[in-house]
Symmetry: C2
Subunit: 243 residues, 2 copies
DNA sequence: GCAAAAGTGTTCGGGCTACACCCATGA
DNA sequence: TCATGGGTGTAGCCCGAACACTTTTGC
């Protein structure tokens, strides 16, 4: 705070020494990218075409640059793979074992991102040799990435209980059966559809549209939209989302 | 994984180049150290006798060394201040704004620790000019440390709802009124003492001792101990702690 | 008209909340 | 004997869980 007005070269010498005594480490970010295909929760993984562990499956990641924030690095790296900006991302955890990356001492800040499974840039994705995997069948990943995935799933489950983040995984307009299937997939449960609609509709955060969608040549379902404004208003009034 | 058998000098050249292209950053850890004095939730802060921001109040922190894990660094730093080992600590969040530390580009991994307020090494604490502050009256801290404290409080509140971590802040033997006061302090509420004891005792994780304690010359209260073995057993049976 | 998924209400029980009085002790 | 905090039980209400049948459409 006190020193914000110094340019780097002007720091008092003792301050420069204070930092210079210490080690500097590579700082990576890795992204657990979730999607939802209508039935299963999915994960976007890349096949590494670079060392170390070339040819293995891996989370998308990259190194934090000196002049960017860690959050910005995470967004930049998500953009590089998907072409998407302004995506819901949460910092998950910092993984800091000195042996976790055999190539060099690298700590990694893992994030998880929720994207709509149809709205990404397919050209970028194929350029990175990326593929979607069901969370039921995740391959062996490099380093500690499987642990990151497990931790991300757990964090997503916790978060989705108390925050309306499921909508980040669905298209703008969706049906109640779709929404229920999403929560079924997240929690590997089979929610009761009556109780589920009662609960979600009673919150008053869904706007029912005057449109229906014909699913697979059966009875069409009503479309809904998540009403963000209404949700924020309710938050101010002390409302608490909960599944 | 594949490269674990290489010593650093033997890495393939392309791997060394892969890392060498990137920036290395200072990585700090900062600890939000909580205690409980019987009435209020307390925070252990140091007055910095080193630059930058010498003389200001600050969380205890330090830099991660190349050969230690981030968790180890956090434990080492907690030990340096308190002389305590094997303390309950949770990683909180990584703070990665490039301007957060005006001295140099430093990311910080914040932790929170729960210690018993009477069991620390007073000599070390005074050597670091450290003092306890009530969470009601936290002074202005350096950098983004106030934000860390707020985030740690929020995380502690969330965690303590679902995990029996409150006991980390109490002596081995404690009374129900003490425990209630602790939760009162954490949530800034006034729990109903009847409902509180009903709930906590019904979980079956407290062992009632055949001892009483004379508080302050009033009616003595029964002492209890948190039964860790029983708790772990219950966990296996699907039990879920909850306040 | 039949197959397939959408949509809709009620009942029951358990848990949370609110609430007030007596008890044990030290001064 | 009085002041102080420890300790205990009950009743109402709300919310979550369980559960089945009718409706709409395409084929």
């Amino acid at each position: 705070m006190l020193y914000l007005h110094f340019k780097e070269k002007e720091y008092p010498l003792k301050m420069k020494n204070f930092y210079a005594r210490h080690d500097r480490l590579y700082v990576a970010v890795d992204s657990v990218i979730f999607g939802f295909d209508g039935e299963q929760l999915m994960l976007l993984l890349i096949r590494r075409n670079f060392e170390p562990c070339k040819g293995s499956w891996s989370l998308m990641g990259g190194f934090v640059k000196k002049e960017e924030s860690v959050d910005e690095a995470a967004s930049r790296i998500l953009y590089a793979l998907t072409g998407l900006k302004d995506i819901y991302m949460e910092q998950l955890h910092c993984y800091g074992d000195p042996l976790r990356d055999p190539g060099a001492r690298t700590i990694s800040i893992a994030y998880y991102a929720l994207i709509k499974v149809n709205e990404y840039d397919r050209e970028r994705v194929s350029r990175h040799n990326a593929q979607w995997f069901s969370i039921q069948s995740i391959p062996a990943l490099v380093f500690d990435h499987n642990r990151m995935v497990n931790d991300a799933l757990e964090a997503l489950r916790q978060k989705a209980k108390h925050q309306p983040i499921g909508f980040e995984l669905l298209p703008e307009k969706f049906t109640l059966p779709q929404l229920k299937k999403l929560y079924d997939a997240i929690y590997q449960k089979n929610f009761d559809k009556r109780n589920f609609s009662k609960k979600i509709l009673s919150m008053g955060i869904l706007e029912r549209l005057n449109e229906k969608v014909k699913n697979h040549s059966i009875r069409p379902a009503s479309l809904y939209r998540f009403d963000r404004k209404r949700y924020k208003q309710l938050l101010k009034e002390g409302f608490h989302f909960g599944i």
